[in-house]
């Protein structure tokens, strides 16, 4: 870079440029994926743990999904306790597993519950601190000491009993034969293991970690619990016109000018009319900055007219395209290449690429992206290749958004680069997500993350 151009690159410009490159990079990895594939996977408990054992008082079957008590029990420390091979996953709304009592044996002293990795495997779950268990012989709930609390019915041979964790309410819950028995506050810190215990001769229990269908209708329960949480959220009151204001600023931010005009006209004719001319005049001025130019350039890029985009930019905002190796120019040059590939002008694309790509400065991030563009040439049907994301509408939109942000940054009143990059709506979404994640990490990693895609998924109800 020559000295002259380096002086023209403001820090804001650099920030915006690298932001959109990062976004491209992200899209190249995730665009083909479905929303649910983006979620963090936690390993689930799948079997009983056979490494840790309670010294001969439990016998885990070869399928690692059943446990029995082989001996005659002598005293309280002869409990056969088995934990699952992995702790219950916690970055979610609910966790649940079930046991089926095959044989209640001599005394039916069977328990289901949750324990930590530090649990002594010779005691019933619930008897010790940091453990919780629902016991079959007395139907009591034991929660951290040897005295149980009235909880539910007893259970015996033929009964299916379930134990679960509701991370939203921080509660353990238990079921018997498909019916919810009750729930109790979960005060154990850290991760917990699904745990089963047997304590008298011939007792035998089979465990279902979800490989088989549960007897309890977990989906219905989850829907119910979610509805309860949603009700709390719905009861919050917000200003009635807040949504209108946010939509309006979104249209302004991205230069969807014609939509904005129609939205404003419609707002005036509703009953009662929604007047959204903000009190703060200078803010409104900044929001409307270069709206028409931004709109024209967006439409040009959306229709693949990259040459026209360049010439308009040279005319209106020469400072943006002055340095032909700036990020925004690179994005546009790549886009021109992509548009040539799209219409099948491969030779022209090759010539264009040879001419332009060589100018780019070396940076690993950029190299990858340029390689993605070039790779389109290798496929007879590039749209179906793994680089097909480049030919999707969303990539044009990304380039248009980058140009939009660069133009916003030419407004002398704007000092903050994030104002150019993010609409108000986006800042609100980021805030929700960050709050939910931060709360989760301060809460022992318990609970779900926030995904806009999940909220959108429920839009179409059939």
């Amino acid at each position: 870079m020559s000295e002259a151009t380096s002086r023209n690159q403001s820090p804001a410009t650099d920030l915006i440029g690298s932001y959109f490159l990062r976004l491209w990079h992200q899209n190249s990895k995730t665009l083909g994926l479905k929303p649910e594939e983006l979620e963090e996977e936690e390993e689930l408990p799948t079997a009983l743990d056979t490494v840790k054992s309670s010294g001969g008082f439990s016998f885990v079957g070869p399928d690692k999904l059943s446990v029995s008590y082989p001996n005659v029990n002598l005293h309280g420390h002869d409990v056969g306790v088995v934990q699952a091979n992995r702790p219950a996953p916690s970055k979610r709304f609910l966790y649940y597993f079930e046991i089926c009592v095959k044989n209640a044996g001599a005394k039916g002293q069977i328990a289901i519950g949750f324990t930590t990795s530090a649990f002594t495997l010779k005691r019933q779950p619930g008897w010790e601190a940091n453990s919780c268990g629902y016991h079959g012989d007395d139907g009591l709930l034991y929660h951290g000491h040897g005295k149980g609390d009235a909880f539910g019915p007893t259970y015996t041979t033929g009964d299916t009993v379930g134990g679960g964790i509701n991370y939203a309410t921080q509660e353990f819950f238990f079921t018997k034969n498909g019916v919810l028995v009750g729930s109790v506050h979960k005060d154990i810190k850290g991760s917990v293991f699904p745990t089963v215990s047997v304590h008298s001769q011939s007792e035998e229990v089979a465990v279902n970690f979800g490989k088989e269908d549960f007897v309890f209708d977990l989906e219905a329960y989850e829907a119910e619990e979610r509805a309860k949480q949603q009700m709390k959220i719905d009861n919050i009151s917000i200003s009635q016109d807040a949504s209108h204001g946010i939509v309006r600023s979104y249209l302004q931010h991205y230069g969807y000018q014609e939509t904005l005009n129609l939205f404003d006209i419609a707002g005036q004719s509703t009953i009662p009319p929604i007047s959204l001319v903000p009190e703060n005049g200078s803010k409104e001025e900044d929001m409307m900055y270069a709206l028409n130019q931004r709109n024209i350039l967006r439409q040009l890029i959306r229709y693949g007219e990259i040459d026209d985009t360049f010439s308009r930019l040279h005319e209106w905002y020469p400072q943006i395209v002055q340095d032909d190796t700036s990020t925004v120019c690179i994005l546009l040059h790549c886009q021109k290449f992509i548009e040539l590939v799209r219409v099948g002008k491969l030779e022209e694309a090759i010539l264009y690429g040879r001419n332009e790509f060589a100018k780019f400065k070396e940076s690993s991030e950029l190299d990858d992206l340029v390689k993605d563009c070039a790779a389109l040439l290798a496929y007879e049907q590039p749209l179906k290749s793994s680089f097909g994301y480049l030919l999707q509408e969303s990539h044009r939109e990304l380039v248009a958004d980058a140009v939009n942000a660069m133009i916003l940054s030419t407004n002398p009143n704007v000092k903050d680069a994030t104002f150019c990059m993010h609409s108000n709506l986006e800042r609100l979404i980021r805030q929700i997500s960050a709050c939910v994640l931060e709360k989760r990490s301060l809460n022992g990693d318990h609970g779900e993350a926030f995904h806009l895609s999940k909220i959108l998924k429920s839009i179409k109800k059939v």
Binding site: I233, S243, V247, L262, R298, L428, L442, F450, S453, K460
Partner: protein, 242 residues
């Protein structure tokens, strides 16, 4: 554990809770915000959902062209829905009922409460226009039989007919029925019923997202002090109050 120890234990917990609130500076928080991944198409969908559900048909049409976002409902149905809504809002209830039945006769057949509220609105409009005799006749013939079937309908009917008993309705206890907000209430009830009949959610997603923001911030307040967004219209981050 004795009560005393439980008390001490509880006290200690309260103290740690009070002192252990984490402080997150603006700089740290901005880094967390930057790490969040937001997809543009999803924001576009959210905006489209708002335009469609709130009935901004022209804007939705244009937004589809300008952003390439497909609406989640046939845009033609919005026009019809808005015509019904407008009719109720401007007091043309007979017209509105006709239009709803043109759209889908099942909507009113399966929604006795909605049908009653529309008829009630019609009675209100008759009273507003000073058509006393017509109003009475309508109340007796159309509304009273429905009131017999349902106690809450009957109470509503009595409240509405009470309007006739006052010479100066602007100063009577049931004057709110003549308010514009009553029309809006009925209009949005019809609007919601039509959306539901089209297998579409009756409320846009955006307002509940904003509520979720308030909720998520309140939840985190219990654990940490961090830069909040207090003004939804500017989405500005405020410095954490220490």
């Amino acid at each position: 554990m004795s009560l005393f120890w439980i008390f001490i234990h509880h006290l200690a917990e309260v103290q740690t809770m009070a002192t252990s609130k984490k402080l997150i500076t603006k700089q740290e928080w901005e880094k967390k915000l930057a790490d969040v991944k937001v997809r543009k198409e999803e924001m576009n969908k959210l905006v489209m959902n708002f335009l469609v559900t709130e009935g901004y048909v022209e804007a939705a049409e244009k937004f589809r062209l300008e952003s390439g976002t497909e609406p989640d409902i046939d845009l033609a149905t919005i026009t019809d829905r808005m015509a019904v809504k407008k009719a109720v809002q401007s007091g043309n209830v007979v017209d509105a009922i006709e239009k709803v039945n043109d759209l889908n006769p099942e909507i009113l057949d399966t929604n006795p409460q909605l049908f009653f509220h529309l008829q009630q609105q019609r009675l209100i409009e008759l009273i507003r226009d000073g058509k006393v005799e017509e109003a009475l006749e309508f109340a007796q013939e159309e509304l009273a039989p429905r009131g017999e079937e349902n106690q809450s309908f009957l109470e509503e009917l009595e409240r509405t007919v009470a309007l006739l008993a006052f010479e100066d309705v602007t100063n009577c206890p049931v004057r709110d029925l003549l308010d514009i907000s009553q029309r809006l209430k009925t209009a949005s009830e019809v609007n919601a019923a039509i959306l539901t009949s089209q297998s579409h959610e009756k409320d846009p997603k955006l307002p509940s997202l904003l509520k979720m923001l308030v909720w998520a911030q309140n939840q985190l307040d219990e654990k940490a002090t961090y830069p909040r967004i207090n003004d939804l219209s500017t989405a500005a981050l405020e410095d954490p109050a220490v």
